[in-house]
């Protein structure tokens, strides 16, 4: 048989393509099945949070709220800021609301602590950036994470103007105090952040931090004119982080909060 290299390669390529193409014909048999949201799940058009720092009086208030998130979401403690993973934490006024330094502000004011987490923006730049849709915006306004799809490119971390996202730079499992079996841990190489406790909302529960905050964090549907968050946001003075960037954060900070119910 006289066949030259180019002809051989061409024929081998065609046969391979046929073989590979044929393998895609396998179809899963569809059974008559359906999926639906859970009946006791909480629904909303636009979940939002109002932060009332006046309710955070002691060190324990902060610890309790942060710990509630850490324990049910298996958040590891690596013990160093380089690999750190945090979903909700506190930072001071000067750094949380950066831009526009008032040099006459006393240090007391500059050092006032604020709870900080993902803002679940209405125009999330992280969702725009994600090349696989691993972070996506739900119909109820929550910016959620699909850890299965994340390739760990960390483009979303660059895109987030609020520093809300963390990356698993190493295996988190050895660094989790006590693994809660009801929620997965994450694998190294994926990005994670606060997800407004979507798994608790599906069970009809408020987010863990909200429950643990004793009124310091108020959670509700901004779209519902009767919700507490809507009433607070439309009648009281609130500020949000970096609004000039147009991302429309859904986390509002009450100014002079003690006057609300």
């Amino acid at each position: 048989m006289s066949i030259n290299r180019r002809q051989f390669l061409r024929r081998a390529g065609m046969v391979t393509a046929l073989g590979l193409g044929g393998s895609f014909v396998i179809n899963a048999v569809e059974t008559a099945a359906e999926y639906e949201p859970s009946k006791q799940g909480l629904v909303a058009k636009h979940w939002a949070m109002v932060v009332d720092m006046s309710k955070f009086k002691t060190e324990d208030d902060f610890k309790r709220v942060i710990q509630s998130c850490v324990s049910i979401h298996n958040i590891p403690d690596f013990g160093n800021p380089k690999d750190e993973i945090k979903w909700i934490w506190s930072d001071d006024y000067e750094h949380t609301f950066s831009g526009g330094d008032n040099e006459y502000l006393t240090d007391d004011f500059k050092k006032l602590p604020f709870m900080v987490a993902c803002n679940h923006c209405e125009n999330p730049p992280c969702v725009k950036a994600c090349p696989t849709g691993a972070t996506f915006k739900r119909d109820d306004g929550i910016v959620d994470m699909d850890f299965h799809r994340c390739i760990g490119c960390r483009f979303c971390m660059g895109a987030c103007p609020f520093g809300a996202r963390s990356f698993n730079y190493r295996d988190p499992r050895p660094f989790i105090k006590k693994i809660d079996p009801d929620y997965p841990t994450r694998t190294p190489g994926v990005v994670e952040k606060c997800i407004f406790c979507v798994e608790r909302l599906a069970d009809g529960l408020m987010p863990a931090c909200v429950e643990a905050s004793n009124g310091g964090l108020i959670f509700g549907d901004l779209d519902d004119p009767n919700s507490e968050v809507r009433k607070l946001v439309s009648t009281k003075f609130t500020i949000r982080r970096k609004t000039e960037l147009g991302t429309q954060p859904s986390v509002y900070y009450l100014v002079g909060g003690a006057k609300n119910a």
């Binding site: 950066s98 090349p131 760990g152 960390r154």
Partner: protein, 387 residues
């Protein structure tokens, strides 16, 4: 034609073996990183992109620079570049492959990387980046290999090659523009949020890429019987003109950025520039790099403006200055300074680890290996033709 890369002098094989050793070390380092996680690098929660993405950014520019040879030769019939174009295209191939490898080693879950194509998100610049990079790679491999093959047989390349060549011109601009858009569209990073980012990327690419190419061609002149720029043709000097104006444009754009930042006096605009030129909040690890780059940039431009550009010793020095000025600017400073200060106005510095550097060197070695092989093939074909 690949078999031409399997024969060579002792020096050729010594170079190949050296590259293979560097690749092996890099590969071992990558295995360590693959099993431990990216924590083995210097990246952190605040500086989430480091040397890998910085090298990718720089090399996309080098890849795009092939267009500076293709456009004059194919679109404007500038015959002087005739003997050089193939080397530009092969440099582009090698650079794009290094880009793809740098992305691969940087990604946290490399086994899932096909998710970008399986679940395309049309609003994500990174999706388009993957598409245009792969497309550019395909175009350059096909065009380069086909024209070289045709040359070897002593015939004209087939007509469809011309269509691909014309396509490669806007495509080259697009790969670097899309890469610039990765950065220029992020609302929270003020160092990157500038309209001039894409223009600066292109200008610096058209200075750095051809500089590297000329250095490579000078080496080709030394080590082979083929001369890509025979005496009297002046192809290299024509390319030097392009480099000169591209670098002047690049420096001018940079000065524009510095002006906007400091004349407006807006703290967010100035912060990162302060970090790289004088330090911020007591952190100044990038300052020596930035000033070296500044010095090299002006040195390079000066040497290329004056008749020193015709000097056999000073020309390579000028080109290396320009190349390294751009490498420092894009491959060291740009990415890291984008994360300074972080979203909370604090400075977290970034220091690459030795494992990380081994991987970087390994990827560069793969690129140079590919470049060596492709150049060897091109040179051998041309040497053959000359007989």
């Amino acid at each position: 034609m690949l078999e031409k890369a399997l024969t060579g002098s002792k020096k050729y094989w010594a170079w190949i073996i050296f590259l293979l050793v560097v690749i092996a070390v890099g590969f071992m380092a990558y295995l360590r990183q693959f099993s431990y996680g990216l924590g083995l690098t210097g990246m952190s929660r605040d500086v989430s992109w480091g040397l890998y993405i910085a090298q990718f950014t720089f090399l996309v520019g080098v890849a795009a620079s092939a267009v500076m040879l293709v456009t004059p030769y194919y679109l404007h019939d500038f015959k002087k570049f005739g003997r050089m174009v193939i080397f530009g295209e092969f440099l582009a191939v090698s650079a794009v492959i290094m880009c793809i490898l740098f992305i691969f080693v940087d990604v946290g879950q490399p086994m899932r990387i096909l998710n970008v194509l399986l679940y395309p998100q049309l609003h994500s610049v990174m999706f388009y980046d993957m598409c245009v990079l792969c497309g550019y790679l395909a175009i350059n491999i096909i065009v380069g290999w086909t024209s070289l093959g045709a040359e070897r047989k002593g015939v004209h390349p087939p007509k469809w090659v011309h269509f691909l060549v014309y396509l490669s011109v806007p495509w080259a601009f697009s790969i670097h523009t899309v890469t610039a858009f990765l950065y220029a569209g992020l609302p929270g990073r003020h160092f990157w949020l500038t309209a001039i980012m894409a223009a600066r990327f292109l200008a610096s690419a058209f200075a750095a890429g051809p500089s590297l190419l000329i250095i490579l061609l000078l080496i080709v002149q030394k080590v082979s019987k083929f001369d890509p720029d025979p005496p009297g043709v002046g192809a290299i000097q024509s390319l030097v003109k392009i480099i000169r104006y591209a670098m002047i444009a690049n420096v001018f754009f940079y000065i524009c950025e510095v002006f906007t930042a400091f004349y407006s006096g807006i703290p967010d605009e100035m912060a990162a520039f302060k970090y790289v030129f004088v330090g911020l909040d007591g952190h100044h690890s990038l300052v020596p790099f930035m000033w070296t780059a500044t010095f090299l940039a002006f040195l390079g431009i000066a040497l290329l403006i004056f008749p020193t550009r015709k000097n056999k010793v000073l020309l390579p020095i000028a080109l290396l200055s320009i190349f390294f000025a751009n490498w420092i600017d894009k491959g060291v400073v740009l990415i890291i300074a984008g994360f300074v200060p972080n979203s909370f106005d604090r400075v977290t510095e970034y220091f690459p680890t030795s494992n990380e550097i081994s991987i970087v060197l390994g990827v560069y070695a793969i690129g140079f290996l590919l470049l060596t092989v492709l150049y060897k093939v091109a040179i051998s074909v041309r040497e053959e033709q000359a007989q």
